[in-house]
Amino acid sequence: MALLDADGKLLHARLWRLTQRADVAEELMQDLVIKLAASDSFAQADRPLAFALRSATNLALDWRRKQVRRGPVASWSDGAEVAGEPDEPSARLERDEELTQLLDALAQMKPTDRVVLTMRYLEDADYDMVGQAIGKTADQARGLCSKAVGRLRKHIDKQTPAEAKS
């Protein structure tokens, strides 16, 4: 698959970031390429990479949602450069907590919300691109994104601490 050669690392990075687990990302990567290879929608997609990234996001967040239901999701905050707080260990833990809360909240959201949020914030896509990906205009995408952010906040706020374990 040409996509695997051209954008495999990008797709794997997406899985790795959202799962925070190298072993899981490795397995989901296999799932992803096989799913895509068997997908007529992917074969007909105007923007295959965007399609693949969406699929990767959903795979990773579905995995995460299952893990949240089961219990704590282990992760390591390796390699992330973060500034703004004293870099003491407890500060690192707090950052990890925020990250975990965000990922767990994302995992609970509807697929469309996941798409617009990850495109907008992870890929830094503009509203035109977000709109294209979900079949909407840029203005509609902007509105959806705003609402999705609101829902994300609510998810984060109502997350029980048990779900935010890491």
Binding site: M1, D7, G8, K9, L10, H12, A13, W16, R17, A22, D23, A25, E26, E27, M29, Q30, D31, L32, V33, I34, K35, A37, A38, L49, P72, S77, G79, A80, E81, V82, A83, G84, E85, P86, D87, P89, S90, L93, E94, E98, T100, L102, L103, Y121, L122, E123, D124, A125, D126, Y127, D128, A138, R142, V149, R153, T160, P161, A164, K165, S166
Partner: protein
């Protein structure tokens, strides 16, 4: 991204910061490459078998394990396939050992392998040895590492400081720095998983017998080896179905090779696609000596690559490490208050309160993200916070005795059953389930040797006679990523005051896109006027200001404060609104 939102809602910035951290994290090259290689193989297998099912792909990776897992890890790792086949064990082959010989050899073997052994698994198609499981047969413990989980090289810590501890309840991997020890991995023992692992001939034959699935074709001895070839007794419908489901094939045949001298299992071979093709599947090595350090558990090829070519940078980073590893204790209880400032948005409308406490040599930190629930908000008394601690489990608990540290997140029912606040610290240890451990090093954030692009240098601060600037540049390209928005390089400058610690004064991170254009700048300016002096010689500022800037959005300052309370008693009113302390203008220089 011309229509990047203005982020007039401060919550957007906070969310974006967290997303930004997520974006900045990336797997190392070898991890990515291995994942892509496996994905290609899975895809090829899928195309060959025309059974493009995701579950099949994953099973395909694991399928070669199936046969051996039933031997090596008979408890719980795999469901039993319905293979009810009559067992025909041809022990009467001319080369078969006598019962006495087997018993004698087994006794010898047991004596030899009462210690650690390592089981390595090989991918049958790639021939890559990729997984290591280690077990202690005498103690009934095991440890598994698949290469991607953990290694000293990934931490950037000195590999000689890794400590392996063998405990009754499991295995602990720790990092030791000066007098401190941080626990990083803690494996619980699962003695049951070891009970039936057949490592010598007697056990192996007994297992085959009990399994009732395979027929031993013959047993023979030749130069230094005992070879036991096994074949599935009957290709039933269930076997065929299992073989079909596992796209890489369900082995009809396999081979065990044992060392004739010790009688111990050394290698396992399994059938691949063709019936006459056997490929390596597993190998076992034995250690009579205990494993002393983590280095015994990792590949010999792993090296710590110290790329700190600049002597001054090396000196500064070493000083930082020494400072942060010397101790973690607080002298005083303090509260960090991050809420109440008008620029903060709804995410923090519930308020955040963190209580630091020290009692009887223990230090603890408790954090609530629903601080407004505490009576008296935004000026609760210390008594109110302690009382809140009795009734409401903090979202974050951090406890240290100066040697080890623990943390946990989340509610715990046991917490609410604590008898009283008189056991503030010990109650945490006794009543709450503590999981996780402190990460021991600050300086790894400044210097990450696994990032091969980082080259730290130190320069004199032209503005301050006692200032030095640690500069690092990290260039990491994300191949295949589109357009202009993604960060491909990071510059980080940290200004330290030499005579205070070293004390970080200004911390700036600039991120650049592929065209070299500034993507964002994060600046943290630490206050100089008031500091907390901890037991170790680290000075922590009481005030700091964090600014996030980007050509794509507004600049949003954030004010923080840390409040120490030496000698404060219960009932003391200790809270101060940070907004009354901070000027609203944006100071260019650190707060003096």
């Amino acid at each position: 991204m011309s229509d990047r939102p203005s982020h007039s809602q401060p919550d957007d910035r906070e969310l974006r910061d967290t997303f930004g951290r997520l974006s900045a994290m990336q797997p190392d090259e070898s991890t990515s490459q291995q994942a892509l290689d496996l994905a290609r193989q899975a895809l090829e297998r899928s195309e060959q078998t025309n059974t493009a099912q995701p579950s099949a792909s994953r099973d395909a990776k694991r399928a070669p394990h199936f046969w051996f897992w039933r031997i090596a890890m008979p408890v719980g790792l795999l469901t039993t396939t319905a293979l009810v086949v009559a067992f025909l064990f041809t022990s009467a082959t001319p080369q078969a050992a006598s019962a006495a010989e087997i018993l004698q050899r087994a006794a010898k073997a047991r004596a030899a392998f009462e210690g650690w052994y390592a089981l390595e698994l090989c991918h049958p198609e790639t021939g890559v040895w990729h997984q290591v499981q280690r077990a202690n047969t005498a103690a009934g413990k095991w440890l598994e590492r698949d290469g991607g989980e953990f290694s000293p090289a990934e931490t950037g810590l000195n590999s000689t400081d890794w400590v392996y501890k063998d405990r009754p309840e499991g295995i602990v991997i720790q990092y030791r720095a000066a007098t401190r020890t941080a626990t990083l991995l803690d494996y619980e023992a699962d003695p049951g998983s070891l009970a039936d692992i057949p490592l010598d001939e007697e056990q192996l034959l007994a297992w085959i017998d009990s399994e009732g699935t395979y027929t031993t074709q013959y047993t023979r001895k030749d130069s230094g080896k005992i070879v036991i070839d096994v074949r599935i007794s009957e290709v039933s419908e269930d076997v065929e179905q299992a073989r079909t489901d596992d796209t890489s094939g369900y082995p009809y045949r396999g081979r065990f090779e044992l060392d004739a001298e010790s009688g111990l299992l050394k290698e396992v071979w399994i059938q691949q696609r063709r019936e006459d093709e056997l490929v390596p599947y597993a190998r076992v090595s034995y250690h009579t000596e205990p494993i002393d350090t983590w280095q015994d558990l990792v590949d010999d090829t792993i090296e710590i690559d110290d790329r700190r070519a600049d002597p001054q940078a090396r000196e500064l980073i070493d000083a930082l490490r020494a400072v942060w590893r010397d101790g973690l204790g607080f002298d005083t209880g303090v509260v960090v208050e991050r809420t109440g400032h008008p620029i903060r948005g709804t995410l923090n409308e519930k308020g955040r309160v963190t209580l630091y406490a020290e009692r009887e040599g223990m230090i603890a930190k408790f954090k609530w993200t629903r601080g407004r629930e505490i009576p008296g908000w935004p000026e609760p008394t210390l008594e109110a916070v302690v009382s809140h601690l009795d009734q409401h489990a903090p979202e974050v608990v951090f406890v240290s005795d100066g040697q080890d540290a623990w943390w946990r997140w989340g509610e715990d029912e046991a917490w609410n059953q604590r008898p009283s606040d008189s056991a503030l610290i010990s109650g945490v240890l006794d009543g709450a389930r503590l999981i996780g451990q402190i990460w021991p090093s600050l300086s790894d954030v400044y210097y990450d040797p696994t990032n091969r692009g980082v080259q730290p240098t130190v320069e004199r601060d032209p503005k301050r006679s006692n200032g030095v600037i640690l500069k690092t540049i990290s260039m990491t390209r994300w191949e295949g990523t589109p357009a202009d928005a993604l960060v491909v390089g990071t510059k980080r400058n940290i200004t330290f005051l030499e005579d205070l610690g070293p004390y970080p004064l200004v911390n700036t991170i600039e991120r650049y896109d592929k065209d070299g254009e500034l993507w964002s700048r994060q600046t943290t300016r630490f206050g100089l006027g008031d500091m907390v002096m901890y037991r170790h010689p680290v000075r922590v500022p009481l005030y700091w200001k964090y600014t996030w800037e980007s050509p794509r959005s507004d600049t949003l300052p954030e004010f923080n404060h840390l409040m120490p309370h030496p000698g404060k008693q219960i009932d003391a009113k200790w809270f101060t609104d940070p907004t009354t302390r901070w000027p609203q203008q944006d100071p260019e220089e650190p707060i003096e």
